[in-house]
């Protein structure tokens, strides 16, 4: 599968970010919780991205933060994809009251602004990683379900689905072998967009203190802590801020490339 140059660049950025996070896990940047020097030091030897308000080196903390954020968002998006695929395909294929039920529920979720919904979830579940995870799932599920359903409606009317039904295929086979593979492109494209939304939601929620809890680092936590010292120690917010922007941008670029590749506008003539 060929992607355009921009998407390949985006993909490259993502690989670098993942390696960066893995490096943190391997302890390449040092211990994220260890106090290594004076407080609020600008970048220098021993602390390549400076030190924070407790004297911890920022580099390993950003490494840990990227890892936490990416892992959390990815798990959440996988959950979203699984749920959206299930509900979207069933609703799109069966139609009727089931479709109405799924769509109305999804629309209720859709009507909440993302961060308000996230705060609501955090208030119910209590702040923490689980709240961040659940928030991302609930924020990303409506759009993906709607789009998967729309794709499934179109696919369900194709002749090969009818053929399968005539040949006596049971529902799981019709949905699993014929509908799902043909809406997989939509799921993949929406998955990348959901991932970038997930990263933003985690950032926002942790920034507000409802998501990942210190001392564990995530991009949101780091930005929140760095924000306090923005004038005195701008490097605190610069590192995680840049990483956040790069991650979201890269994911969206990859998503655009995937969309162009997997959902070409159908201009093919009938014969």
């Amino acid at each position: 599968m060929k992607l355009d140059k921009l998407s390949v660049g985006g993909l490259g950025c993502l690989v670098v970010l993942v390696l960066f996070a893995l490096g943190g896990l391997a302890g390449l940047g040092g211990d994220p919780d260890a106090i290594v020097g004076p407080r609020l030091q600008p970048p220098g030897p021993g602390w390549w991205l400076g030190t924070d308000n407790l004297g911890r080196s920022v580099l390993p903390r950003v490494m840990e933060g990227v890892g936490t954020t990416l892992l959390l968002s990815s798990i959440a998006v996988l959950l979203t994809a699984a749920l959206s695929a299930t509900f979207g395909i069933i609703a799109g294929y069966r139609g009727g009251y089931l479709n109405e039920l799924v769509m109305r529920l999804v629309e209720v979720l859709y009507s909440f602004p993302a961060i308000v919904l996230a705060i609501l979830v955090a208030a119910v579940l209590g702040p923490g990683q689980l709240a961040a995870l659940a928030s991302i799932v609930l924020v990303t599920i409506p759009l993906m379900t709607r789009l998967v359903r729309a794709a499934a409606v179109a696919v369900s009317q194709r002749d090969y689905v009818t053929s399968a039904v005539i040949s006596g295929a049971r529902l799981p086979r019709v949905l699993g072998r014929h509908v799902l593979p043909n809406v997989a492109g939509t799921i993949a494209v929406q998955g990348t967009y959901a991932l970038s939304v997930g990263i933003a939601v985690e950032g926002g929620l942790s920034f507000l203190g409802f998501g990942v809890q210190p001392p564990q680092a995530s991009l949101g936590v780091l930005i929140q802590q760095g924000g306090t010292y923005m004038i005195a120690a701008p490097w605190l917010i610069l590192g995680p801020g840049v990483v956040l922007v790069v991650a979201i941008l890269a994911i969206n670029v990859v998503g655009d490339g995937l969309r162009d590749r997997l959902e070409p506008r159908e201009t093919r003539s009938l014969t």
């Binding site: 002749d159 039904v165 005539i166 040949s167 006596g168």
Partner: protein, 316 residues
């Protein structure tokens, strides 16, 4: 006993009526051509045979009996078995009737089940199996894809094959070949064919019987040669008169004036009345009942009179 029996079938979509009391009988091993213009309801009738209508379609009246089973009143499990054992479909667009995400061999295997011989079934439609088996549908030509679709539909030797203009999207070169293939495979397996088309002469050449649809009803139904050569219903006569193949060199083709109706409810009288040169007042208000003229069943109030005075005059 007939294999398929459609009785007074009325199918409504939200605002339009697709079938307005259609009747059709099909005997075991018989090949029937179902002919009509776009919008005459032939595709709806074809889909109704397998209860494959879209969700928005509503069966208002009538019934479809296939192999002794009332298709519209079966529970899901029995319906699944009925389709599996008795039905095959071939569609118009060959590429769209294959799943684009699966290799041809895998799709065929899915239909055949364990122990199915993919090579044998592809061989029956004269396809070189090794290459085709590994191909994705988009790598096939229209003719090849349609042959794969035919192999899939005929793999289970169904008792009834519904073919919805399977050659309309093909090159004229492969058209004949594909039609031949369907009819010879069906004859071998003892499969009945319901062949939907808007090409009356082409259908009449191959099928035992021809049923002509207009305005959601079967208006004339009889032996192919009779329907084409001695049509009774004015619409059939007009269709036969508008066919380029049948016209003698130098004669004018006579188009059927006017447009086909779009029904929103039951037609008050004969749906063809506004376009019919023989229409009398009665045709507008009274729904015609089937009458038997010679070997044909005809829906026309004046069928007997018209049959006596040689219908091709319609075109005059």
């Amino acid at each position: 006993m007939s294999l398929l029996s459609v009785r007074n079938l009325v199918i409504d979509y939200a605002k339009t009526r697709a079938l307005d009391g259609a009747d059709l009988e099909l005997a075991q091993g018989e090949t029937v051509g179902l002919v009509g213009e776009s919008g005459s309801g032939k595709s709806t009738l074809g889909s109704a045979v397998g209860r494959l209508l879209p969700r928005s379609a509503l069966r208002t009246e009538g019934e479809v009996v296939l192999a002794g089973e009332p298709v519209f009143d079966l529970p899901p499990g029995r319906l699944r078995h009925l389709r599996k054992r008795h039905l095959g479909f071939v569609f118009q667009d060959p590429i769209a009737s294959l799943n684009p995400t699966m290799r041809v061999g895998a799709q065929l295997r899915l239909v055949l089940g364990r122990g199915g011989d993919v090579g044998f079934h592809l061989g029956r439609v004269r396809l070189d199996d090794a290459r085709v088996t590994r191909a994705y549908p988009h790598q096939l030509s229209g003719g090849m894809a349609q042959r794969v679709a035919i192999a899939m539909a005929m793999a289970t030797s169904p008792e009834l094959l519904v073919a919805d203009e399977p050659t309309a999207a093909l090159d004229s070169q492969v058209r004949e070949e594909v039609s031949d293939m369907v009819f010879s495979l069906a004859a071998e397996a003892g499969t009945s064919i319901l062949w939907l088309s808007h090409d009356l002469p082409a259908v009449a050449r191959r099928c035992d019987r021809v049923a002509v649809m207009y305005g959601g009803r079967v208006v004339e139904n009889g032996p192919a040669r009779e329907v084409l050569g001695n049509p009774v219903h004015p619409y059939t006569a007009a269709l036969a008169g508008a066919s380029p193949a049948a016209a003698a060199h130098g004669t004018r083709l006579e188009p059927v004036p006017g447009r086909p109706p779009v029904l929103t409810g039951p037609a008050p009288g004969c749906a063809f009345a506004p376009r019919c040169p023989f229409a009398v007042e009665r045709c507008e208000h009274e729904r015609p009942e089937p009458v038997r003229v010679r070997d044909q069943h005809v829906l026309c109030h004046r069928a007997e009179e018209l049959a006596d005075q040689r219908v091709p005059e319609v075109t005059a």
